[in-house]
Symmetry: C2
Subunit: 585 residues, 2 copies
Amino acid sequence: MASPGSSFWSFGSEDGSGDPENPGTARAWCQVAQKFTGGIGNKLCALLYGDAEKPAESTGNVPPRAAARKVACTCDRKPCNCPKADVNYAFLHSTDLLPACDGERPTLTFLQDVMDILLQYVVKSFDRSTKVIDFHYPNELLQEYNWELADQPQNLEEILMHCQTTLKYAIKTGHPRYFNQLSTGLDIVGLAADWLTSTANTNMFTYEIAPVFVLLEYVTLKKMREIIGWPGGSGDGIFSPGGAISNMYAMLIARFKMFPEVKEKGMAAVPRLIAFTSEHSHFSLKKGAAALGIGTDSVILIKCDERGKMIPSDLERRILEAKQKGYVPFLVSATAGTTVYGAFDPLLAVADICKKYKIWMHVDAAWGGGLLMSRKHKWKLSGVERANSVTWNPHKMMGVPLQCSAFLVREEGLMQSCNQMHASYLFQQDKHYDLSYDTGDKALQCGRHVDVFKLWLMWRAKGTTGFEAHIDKCLELAEYLYNIIKNREGYEMVFDGKPQHTNVCFWYVPPSLRALEDNEERMSRLSNVAPVIKARMMEYGTTMVSYQPLGDKVNFFRMVISNPAATHQDIDFLIEEIERLGQDL
Amino acid sequence: MASPGSSFWSFGSEDGSGDPENPGTARAWCQVAQKFTGGIGNKLCALLYGDAEKPAESTGNVPPRAAARKVACTCDRKPCNCPKADVNYAFLHSTDLLPACDGERPTLTFLQDVMDILLQYVVKSFDRSTKVIDFHYPNELLQEYNWELADQPQNLEEILMHCQTTLKYAIKTGHPRYFNQLSTGLDIVGLAADWLTSTANTNMFTYEIAPVFVLLEYVTLKKMREIIGWPGGSGDGIFSPGGAISNMYAMLIARFKMFPEVKEKGMAAVPRLIAFTSEHSHFSLKKGAAALGIGTDSVILIKCDERGKMIPSDLERRILEAKQKGYVPFLVSATAGTTVYGAFDPLLAVADICKKYKIWMHVDAAWGGGLLMSRKHKWKLSGVERANSVTWNPHKMMGVPLQCSAFLVREEGLMQSCNQMHASYLFQQDKHYDLSYDTGDKALQCGRHVDVFKLWLMWRAKGTTGFEAHIDKCLELAEYLYNIIKNREGYEMVFDGKPQHTNVCFWYVPPSLRALEDNEERMSRLSNVAPVIKARMMEYGTTMVSYQPLGDKVNFFRMVISNPAATHQDIDFLIEEIERLGQDL
């Protein structure tokens, strides 16, 4: 559990020898650091240089910041104006920062020093010689630090220390070998945009208080609807706090479209409604049904084929069955990119069925929507243009920082009718500007975080072609992984054939299990392999990949690639690491 | 609508003469700027100095960044390593940033330059001589810039320009004269914490991927429950995306507690449920009822007294009425700090009624919860300790950056039972650590943004006593405003008596209306006053305060003070500004 030889302030390879893909040792990095301003060059360089030359243990109990403060000023100006010479955080508190009188200088210096800490973290995140995570068990972390909240303030030195400590134990989600979730990677422009969003610190409810962000949301959602294929990008939408809420919106709007009286009268006034989604779909459909008073029993799970795709004939059969019972099918949620298999439901066939039975067609493309940006892969979502609504999370496959989830609706005005409550203190009808830009009343939320700017700025920086290149590369890496392991000794694929998304699902079978018969005992032992390898990965901190059981399949690895920093070598590394950590099991 | 004499890059007073409360002219500020590093001292100083000396118009069509790029390097080192000498953003794209090979240097330089832009914005936000908003109508902003998203990437010079443009038209929510919403101000430690949160870029669903943040959420929610007064801080809770969703959680959990079968069976399986809240309560209660399939008709609005407080006898009467009809009262949502009047419902009396009729008592303290931090004012929430659940938004009265809304429940385990769906790909049961820290399954969301760190870090920096001082000061300022206007010519109070929260509600009556009889014509003319003054405020950009009608009361101003930068002089300014802008009406 110890953190061998890794210090938060050490850069470059821990052994000083470098990595073939990332040749910078601390010394080389230091030379680079010297070339930029920002107050970090000299400060960091001295630290980093030292750290890499000495064994990391020697930094021992010296708190990182205290170490930083010892660095002598190296500037050439006399008298020296360096902040270290006369800003002593140990004597400063938050009350010395703006809006305090004379607060500008400590504010700027403090924020700059926070920024230095963040920039180091950013650089380290991309460095393969650092750990993905410096894992500690909950009770260890709780005991090692005092996290409690007290009556009295702490000084800014302590606050900076907390920032460092928090990042020390954080997971480096931008690390090239972090594959644990559907959202991985750290986009620099997206990060900058999120910092700006925090600084602007406003709410999305009205144009009045978020003029630019409201316009950008309008522009961005329209562009996304164009890409989906709705004529002229018409329709409606919103950025919601995550795919689960977006899917809940779909259910809410579909129900309202069919039975608008439900808004005032509740579910008591309507017949029993039934939603359909595949057995591989995301759990948020059931969660939404529970919340909306529909009930999880009214979500019918449609059978999937061996690749995890919804079987249309089973969908039709279950719709007819529901109708025969006098129930009302009101929603089919097809999945474009299932969470585990990365499967794409056959949207065209689903669309035909929805049309035939006049059912709202939702497409949960939270994970797969990104493929619409790729000319090579967007055919996998053919039929999405026939959906009534779509969930599409740019924070997944498109690498936008968390959170950024779009809910898109084909019919304009429906969200507004469904959700508006006309709060007069927010949505005054006698304002001096075009009120169609006060979009807050169509949301379930009142205050709503600004999630659009990071996507918009990334889109300007990358262009649609940039997203396309990213997505094509991730899919190519998944195929590379698949090609390596499909015939490799010790691997079994969970389903046959080339992955359609970046999900590659497989068992690693340790040597001790390879000769065993395919019986219950082998299954039971195989089931323990992934959890143990995963635990070891985390304790070593070298890489992270998810695992889970699914139906009658015992724990298997689900590799997903959305990380723009990942390379072929990182895939090779993952395989070697699984084998290194699992061969004795 | 033009922006007279204000340039995004100008600092200090626009006329160079300074402000009595903020004596820094650009020249003085420049001297300060010279004293800190961070790459901004010299760069900014040259710009600012120049800007304040010249009429702002002379910067004319020179794009800000282009102006910045002309500043000669002033460093003393030869050969000069300043990034401007050899980092030319016009030739760099996002693909040159990390994870690109050799991407460290452009990444660090780019992020540093973004930071410079943000730091200038922060400083300007607190400068009374700058505008609160540089207001433009939607069609103006849409025409003036091309916001569209294209196939091809833009270079980093353009990206930096977009950051500047976005901030140029943003509302300065930290400005000392911004009073428009319940969330105002810009806390520097909170801002730093939000930047760190963006950089860590993770999700709250499991300890595995958010170890520190999960522990901080645990610690912080427990502390909040202690302050509410639940024994030992026991109970449960979550940070949710805003007060409306927190209130929806209350309704969801209350329903589940009474009828757990609703999760599977839906509303069809339960009798008609009725919720009660005051006629001054937040619209999210109705929004929640609509979404949850309860229906807005089943939300009974209880009468308020003239101060906006729920009348307990009317609550009891309506509960009995509902029961007589065979309906089931399941929730009373009392409000601690109503949105418009800032009223506190009589929680002890409500608690007695809830106990008598065995109804879930929720307290919507989204706005008023902050007063629990003040020994002087917390009596206004007496009885909150008897609630079953509480909404408390630290992003309002406590000044935490958006968003930060806590939903707190007295009974442990209920959220989990109500919402869990056991997704095996996230909440594996065979992990190597204590699974009680995987809290994601109790949320309605799947992915969940990290909202806790900014509150936690601010709390460490200010201490409970720091929040108390902030809250006491805001309430004192509200009383100051009330004392000035209650007997001042041209003002009428919407309700009598000292404000209980920082809400001060009043009409400004222009001279032309003062002699008129109190009839319909006067009401109609008075109704137009606040919208016109507000429109003028926004066009001048000098201050912002909200207005609305309420019931039979025509448009009135609702002043609220949560902004830590506001002073007595800002209150004086607001009054003078209302009179200046409204005297001709």
